[in-house]
């Protein structure tokens, strides 16, 4: 039986693919040979013994020094110590009702135990006695965490369109017994119920 023209046509692409693959392989092989030819002679083969001699013992962490992780440093917060007995808050809304034009300045001292101390001479409340007495009654009960001491001033200025309460903490100093690496942050340094945060300025100088 003879091969028909159709069978010959069918087989022809297979020969063509095979031929292309042969050429591709030959090309790759040729390119590889070309790359090898370009390499310096000593790099064509890797000397096993030669390379081994160059190996140095790698350094390892812990051979030249150690760092032992210590405890986390907890920052201290200077604030009103709510855990202490008798601490009372000041009702801001009630103060506004009693005297909407309250203008009272109080200069206080925080002692080394965190107590807020002041006398009548430290209170400036001309014309606003009722409001001044109310503020004093609340402030007398305030006790702070014993991390800072010094002068602290309060200015209750209700008619003001800006800040209605200014607390001057510029003269407070951290206790010298607290190690320097422990940070002391100011936290809640007043206990006034009903005041908006936008109405208070902490840190201003009075």
């Amino acid at each position: 039986m003879f091969e028909t023209e159709l069978t010959k046509k069918k087989r022809f692409p297979i020969f063509r693919i095979t031929g292309i693959l042969f050429f591709a392989v030959a090309l790759v092989f040729g390119y590889r040979a070309y790359l090898l030819y370009r390499l310096p002679f000593d790099q064509i083969q890797i000397s096993t013994f030669g390379e081994r001699e160059k190996l140095a013992i790698p350094p390892r962490p812990g051979v030249q020094g150690i760092v032992i992780t210590g405890p986390r440093i907890q920052p201290l917060f200077f604030s009103i110590d709510l855990s202490r007995a008798g601490v009372r808050d000041l009702d801001w809304q009630q103060l506004r009702v009693i005297d909407p034009h309250t203008d009272v300045k109080i200069s206080c001292q925080i002692d080394h135990r965190g107590r807020l101390l002041f006398s009548q001479r430290d209170v400036m409340m001309e014309g606003h006695t009722k409001a001044g007495m109310m503020i004093q009654q609340a402030l007398k009960t305030w006790k702070y965490t014993p991390y800072k001491s010094g002068n602290i001033k309060f200015w209750f200025n209700l008619p003001s369109k800006g800040k209605k309460l200014i607390i001057d903490t510029s003269q407070l100093r951290r206790k010298s017994s607290i190690p320097e690496h422990i940070p002391v942050y100011d936290s809640q340094i007043h206990l006034i119920e009903g005041i908006k945060s936008s109405e208070i300025q902490i840190g201003g100088i009075i």
Binding site: V25, I46, I66, P71, I73
Partner: protein
């Protein structure tokens, strides 16, 4: 009588096998080609080596020659800090020696005490998946291998795999003869301030 001529099979190349073989050759030469392109260093040796830096760990276990162990954990930093404050009037070298002698005499423990400490550590690690420990084990070159294996067996079997360890060669003399030992305030990876102990050999 005319005999029927047997049907002759036509001889031909087995194309399927040949294509398979060509593909294998093609892949081989291609891979080989890429290997040639690699630099000599990469071909000869590629071992990721650790950097030459300080070993950081929460706990250091130093084997001592007479079978005892020198244990240092995070409580050490407070102790060293107290010594630094108490003996601050001493010269730097004398302070270093004082701190080291006090530290070593306080923290040398027996193998049974080590077992107790490790059990407590593993219990803590098993109860809290969010804490993690890294233990640096320093051992002299002539230390019997089974002693390290005992420790590794104990600490590697935690529920949350949160106790990791590293072994390194070193003796107690390295620590005794260190250039400097001091407390340093550093920030950890999460930015939290910690009071660490730094020992430079």
């Amino acid at each position: 009588m005319a005999f029927k001529e047997p049907k002759r099979q036509k001889e031909r190349i087995e194309l399927i096998s040949m294509v398979d073989m060509i593909f294998i050759l093609l892949v081989f030469f291609l891979v080989n080609n890429f290997v040639i392109k690699m630099p000599l260093q990469e071909r000869s040796l590629y071992i990721p080596t650790p950097k030459n830096e300080l070993g950081r760990a929460q706990i250091v276990i130093q084997f001592v020659e007479n079978g005892q162990i020198f244990w240092m954990d995070e409580s050490v930093s407070e102790f060293v800090n107290q010594l630094e404050e108490s003996y601050g009037y001493l010269s730097e070298d004398r302070l270093r020696r004082k701190v080291l002698s006090e530290l070593i005499s306080r923290n040398i423990i027996s193998p049974s005490e080590l077992d107790t400490k490790l059990e407590a550590l593993v219990t803590r690690a098993n109860n809290d998946p969010y804490i993690s420990y890294f233990i640096l084990i320093r051992c002299p070159n002539d230390l019997p291998y089974h002693r390290i294996i005992n420790i590794i067996t104990k600490i590697s079997d935690t529920n949350y795999r949160n106790v990791k360890y590293g072994c390194v060669g070193g003796t107690l003399e390295d620590i005794q003869n260190c250039k400097c030992i001091s407390t340093v305030v550093e920030r950890d990876t999460k930015g939290r301030r910690r009071k660490n102990i730094r020992i430079d050999f």
